[in-house]
Symmetry: D2
Subunit: 469 residues, 4 copies
């Protein structure tokens, strides 16, 4: 299971870093190299320190679309809310996370960092971080499984330094400490976890009574959910389809399977571009929303012969099966925006009578004996991770949430958080949103005292109940 | 407080019944009349039994847009889930509630009904119900306060008949029984309450430990919330503005105060019709949504001089105050889609230097000394209740929810519901939605066994957690 | 043929004037009354001078949405481009034309006016004009055929006064002068004609060599065409459907017959409100546009059984015939936005087995023997004239065009216009548009000298070739 | 002037062919190579015959989105409307033009072809054509100026073969024949010209009385105009911005200079994706349209400090000048969708105090002394040619128009066309559209005899006057 996820992530990264400098010539393992930056510091392990300049520019570009973190840095000139924090992190090492790391550092923290995925490290960015000296990075693109755990270990197993905060994406770092250095948890004030998988693991630990520090689930914050799904997909479905197929959207017939937030985003974008969109749903409430939003609600079989594009967004498995694929018309594009790689039964296409032809990166033509071609994107994996970009602005929201969760857990008075998994307090969720408003030159209205009293709200929020979406 | 609400409701009704037969000539109180229908039955009290035919046609027209209730009737031909139920109801008496009452009757219930508002009864519909004999109705348009309670009392204070279910809208009926006939609660299996106010009262009773039967809060069901707000407002804002002012939407500058569900509906409709829409918000999360949806987020004062239309949707008070009104440009339209009549400080316009001119029903010109005119709609009360129509389809969803809640409470095995306030089970919420899909010729997809197992769901739902919106 | 047109116009007017004062009691013909205003002037013939105040307010309200004419008045404070003009007009007498007349007067003209339709006069407005004394009006609502021509004659047959300009809508005034006072044309400098019918007559005269003065066809100016069709219909289709049927648009299936400007406006509005729209077309170019805009292009018979609403916009006849009507589903709404009353074969519904039921003004239920009901609007006549409002802003464009055409013809140096029919010069068309921009607080960019030279354009326009649409 | 155009075209091609096989190693000029395909034929001159297979697949993919040409081929199985035609062509040599050439061949023509641009040839496609033997191709990517004319000459200067039809794109081929082989025009039946430049040259020849054969201007056909501008730009503005900058559209403030067809397409797409769009215009009619469509009409200086993206679509020069660029905010993206490379005064940015940084292909950061960066795309050249794709479907419309124009001119009875420049007959324009409808599974309605008579139209069209747009 882990491998598939890794692959997807690596695809995302490999695409977005397509324009980066190539470092494929050098075959020496970073572990065997002497590591030293221009200041003589060598407490890191990366591919090639010479790429630092290139990486620095990428970080600077990312900074421009991560206004909230930059705002946090500014406020930190006075106080250092993370002074004394020793953060060990395990995430993708990209320009965006570099902005996060350097922000944590500016807030007073010391950081040591490994990659959460063996392919996802942008070597140039790692080099820039190593050169800057703000974060001790142990990561490169193309680590072996052994390298992967070696890097994590180098982050935590340091003489004279012990982490007191964990920032994890997937739970591998947390798992490693549990397994190898359980006593470290005595000094650790909390865990911040971003991924669905990692959060799941934490809830299991909690249920089993084995969670020994407070943990913050930042995956389920309102802001992140809304942005990662509805708005992000609204843009990435168009981008993903164009980059792979150059398809014209106007007049195309499209069926979108599933009308959750992802499906809503896809449908809105395609309708806006002049496509005719059909929706399939299992949940009558979402189905009724699709109707009211102006989409014909159908069963897949009703439209499968006529549509030009099939998009899955259900979170389910085998939503598009071989029988459906057999009936699609020539040239039909099939892709997945939903969940993992289960939604389209791609395995069913690996039969002798069908010919596969790789026509571009991430684009396969699957050819039937009668000559009919299906255009399969990303082999059924997530289109928006594989073939389009995730806007930096969306990543900024996640990174800001992570930073605030770290600050909250690190500074919380004893007893506020127990050995359990917490959602980010609503008020901080609202704070993350407020930090992103200046990007849009947006001006928030303030409640008067009288109004706050009338509504029974604090003037500074939270403004909605926790369950509000 | 009650009076204002009554007024608003009466306005809604008076508008939608504008085409109805006039019965204003007859000044005799229904209480003083002999009441008898063509079958000789007289256990009701209405204005004029001769209007029955007209009312019947209105009911028939409403039936066409209330497919879910009609579907329930059909299924009831075999079993009668409300056999033995003795329902006393207190709601608006309109063509739509008539369809509900006659459905309850078809499901096996006996019904006695009063009006929850002294102005809202459609006399013709009451007559049709009385003539039909399915429901014993005690209601007419223009009741006095005394009449109001007299009618309620006639519903419950019957020899040889005692209610075992309550359907209430506003809590007055429940209140009356608590006050006058508390012992009746011994036989009552449950209360179904629709209104915000009534639900609030029930929670208070519950908190105080005084709620002696289970109660179902149907106001907060997902389906009702989504439809009453987002979709209903999307249509009624346009209708309300056109009917009152004939304003052209294209190119108009509009500021919408508040970007909750109501504001989202208003903004979407106006943007779609070519208006330029600005949004004000206090909640940074909703504010960020407004930005992502393509609206400039401003403070009211920034745009107040330039906008052509001001719409309040905040649920707050004094959102538009005299100072704002003073700065609006000549001809600016001001209206409220939000909450009660508090949002616009209309009282501040009742000063000697301003002239009020009633130019149409629900439309006032407020004229400044320099000749500037503000076009104030519905005196700041709810535009969509006062000046536009609430689609029958939306009312259908509410009525179906009420019917299912009654069935659920009436048939629930002992112990399932305690003396508390419950939300409609998610599954029944989904069922209400599913009953409305055939209207759109919408075809739901069914989970396969394998898929249901993969998702950890029952094939028949519920498909989402309770908190899902 | 004339009668039908009259009826349609009268319906439009009767609706929009619904809130007006009722004057039905007075049965004396205006021709038999003594006519005198408060200044003692009596050179007019109207229903009731006492209604002048009400009419004046209506005119003032209209002035607020006719900014271009008001701007012309302001400029006229210096020069009077119509000084010496003696204009005889024959148009609908509404608040909007009153603003036009009083503008012409402010520009220096003397005006005498009759109604172009026996039902369309707003008596209160006529009274206000008579009281104001700026225009001599001879018109009332409910004229007989004889009255109609008597009024026209009173405008032109005046001792000591002879018109030198004609403003006509339908060609009746022009026809009357041709027939009765042909010698008048010696002094007449030109005719401005607005209607399709009137323009057609002028082209016929021109072809026959009988047109003896220049004429300006203002019906085909770009601004008028674009506004009267695309934008006006975008708004009025929604308004027309709501006012008559209160139908909810979300999720409704609609077929729009014809994808010209009118169809484009209807489709855009309905799609925006969440309807699912199908289009029929005969012209492959418009058909391809419909496809690219995201509409399924079908034959009517393919969708007739499933749609909730049928709208005709073709300009053709028998687009919806009995066979189609027989197949529609119960409750289907049928209406016409296109042309005259030919598009729906209403006559085919006048058969014994079908029952007609008038349920509201302009709404008939046609009932099949099996109980199926079709909801027919305005008996197949134009929905937007009969059942919705034409925004004053749109009428403003037409009125401004008329005013400018009069100024142009009146002031043109001899020889610029011959005895032929002309389109409004492109530059004046652009000028009409520019006069309406301030309504939207719109700021036009000016060409620099260098840019104008580069484009080969005059800095003040015209900016596009004549054929540009 | 020619060079700039060439560069732009080459950029377009180089981008879209990014995935193609690299043939950069082989430095021998094709003119010096032995040319021979697998059948032993060598009457062509291309880069490398071994790339034929790859090129063939590209052609096959293109065929799938060029349904109209494929339909023409099918009909040609019976009759050969181009039997005897000897066509010499000079266009871009791409997969799409290959489909055109092979269609002409299937219709009976013999073809010889050169490239109209020294960079635009897709070598693989040229190889496939050479291998197929249907068209004699003389073209490769990276021709010298001398090669360019040599290739054209090889097409026309053939022993025993003389062209009787010309298909030109830019007028170079026509020019060459005029200059070198004027006597050839005796046998030539007509010229079909696609480009603005080429059409301009033809009109000049015609004016000068030097045009000695009929010519067809296919650039100005309705279908082509509407598709190339409105619909194509609606898609390519999003694609162009995403591919170059990965910018998120939601909430971005954008100013679009010019509201012609191109501007309308850009504005519609960006508004639909949640951007806030401002428009500048010089033409009051287009300005009024922008207002009615819901865009604030401003002068560029009013919004230049606040916008995130500036897009020029005016066809004018110096629309964005240094003064504007100086005021833009940090990170502002500047690009051109309009005309040539004149709209943005890029030259003004070539000053010593500004630093240029090439961050990606087609993306420059221009950096002010204070650190402000402007993101300039494609150095101000056309974004959609340089950085996004032109959908094959749009090219299909142009190619079909060219094929039909060739058929029309070749088969026209003597005297139908004189030595002049013609627009494609309206009916053929409609026919091109009709051939593209099956792609959308669109079903055209046919006029009944009665309807055709009523409208005064032929049942088979043309359905609109020539000036209709």
């Amino acid at each position: 299971k882990k491998k598939k996820k890794s692959l997807e992530r690596s695809l995302r990264i490999s695409f977005t870093s397509a324009s980066y400098t190539d470092s494929s010539d050098d075959e020496t393992s970073p572990r065997d190299k002497q590591q030293k930056n221009s200041k003589g510091n060598g407490d890191f392990c990366i591919k090639n320190i010479k790429q630092a300049d290139f990486g620095r520019r990428e970080i600077e570009i990312a900074e421009q679309e991560m206004p909230a973190l930059m705002a946090l840095r500014k406020r930190a000139q006075g106080e250092k809310p993370l002074a004394g924090a020793k953060i060990v992190g395990c995430t993708h090492i990209t320009a965006q996370t570099a902005v996060l790391m350097e922000t944590l550092s500016a807030l007073g923290a010391q950081c040591r960092w490994a990659a959460c995925n063996i392919y996802s490290t942008q070597n140039e960015v790692a080099a820039a971080l190593a050169e800057g000296g703000e974060a001790h990075v142990f990561a490169w693109k193309g680590e072996s499984e052994d390298d992967f755990w070696w890097c994590i270990d180098r982050c935590v197993n340091v003489e004279g330094w012990q982490p007191n905060m964990i920032l994890d994406d997937g739970g591998d770092l947390t798992h490693w400490i549990y397994k190898k250095y359980p006593s470290m948890f005595k000094k650790i004030k909390g865990i911040v976890e971003e991924s669905v998988t990692g959060v799941h693991r934490l809830y299991q630990l909690s249920k089993a009574g084995k969670l020994c520090v407070p943990a913050m689930n930042v995956n389920d914050s309102v802001t992140k959910q809304k942005f990662d799904n509805l708005y992000c997909c609204r843009e990435s479905i168009l981008d993903g389809l164009k980059r792979t197929t150059d398809v014209m959207f106007g007049g195309k017939q499209v069926v979108v399977c599933g009308y959750g937030e992802v499906g809503k985003g896809c449908c809105a974008a395609l309708k806006a571009m002049g496509s005719i969109v059909y929706v399939t749903e299992i949940d009558p409430i979402c189905a009724l929303q699709a109707c009211m939003d102006g989409f014909r609600l159908v069963k897949l079989t009703e439209v499968i012969r006529q549509v030009d594009i099939v998009i899955t967004c259900t979170g389910n498995k085998n939503v598009v099966v071989r029988e459906n694929l057999d009936r699609m018309k020539n040239g039909c594009i099939v892709c997945n925006m939903g969940h993992s790689n289960t939604e389209i039964d791609v395995a069913s296409l690996r039969t002798p009578e069908l010919t596969w032809e790789r026509v571009r990166s991430q684009v396969d033509h699957v050819i039937w004996p009668d000559g009919k071609r299906i255009v399969l994107l990303a082999e059924g994996r997530l289109l928006n991770l594989s073939c389009s970009t995730v806007p930096t602005f969306v990543l900024s929201i996640t990174a800001t949430t992570q930073a605030l969760a770290l600050i909250e857990l690190y500074n919380a008075p004893e007893g506020r958080y127990k050995q359990d998994v917490y959602l980010l307090p609503k008020k901080m969720d609202e704070y993350v949103a407020s930090l992103h408003l200046p990007t849009f030159d947006a001006h928030l209205t303030e409640l008067s005292d009288e109004q706050a009293k009338y509504l029974g709200l604090n003037k500074n929020g939270p403004f909605k109940p926790n369950y509000y979406r």
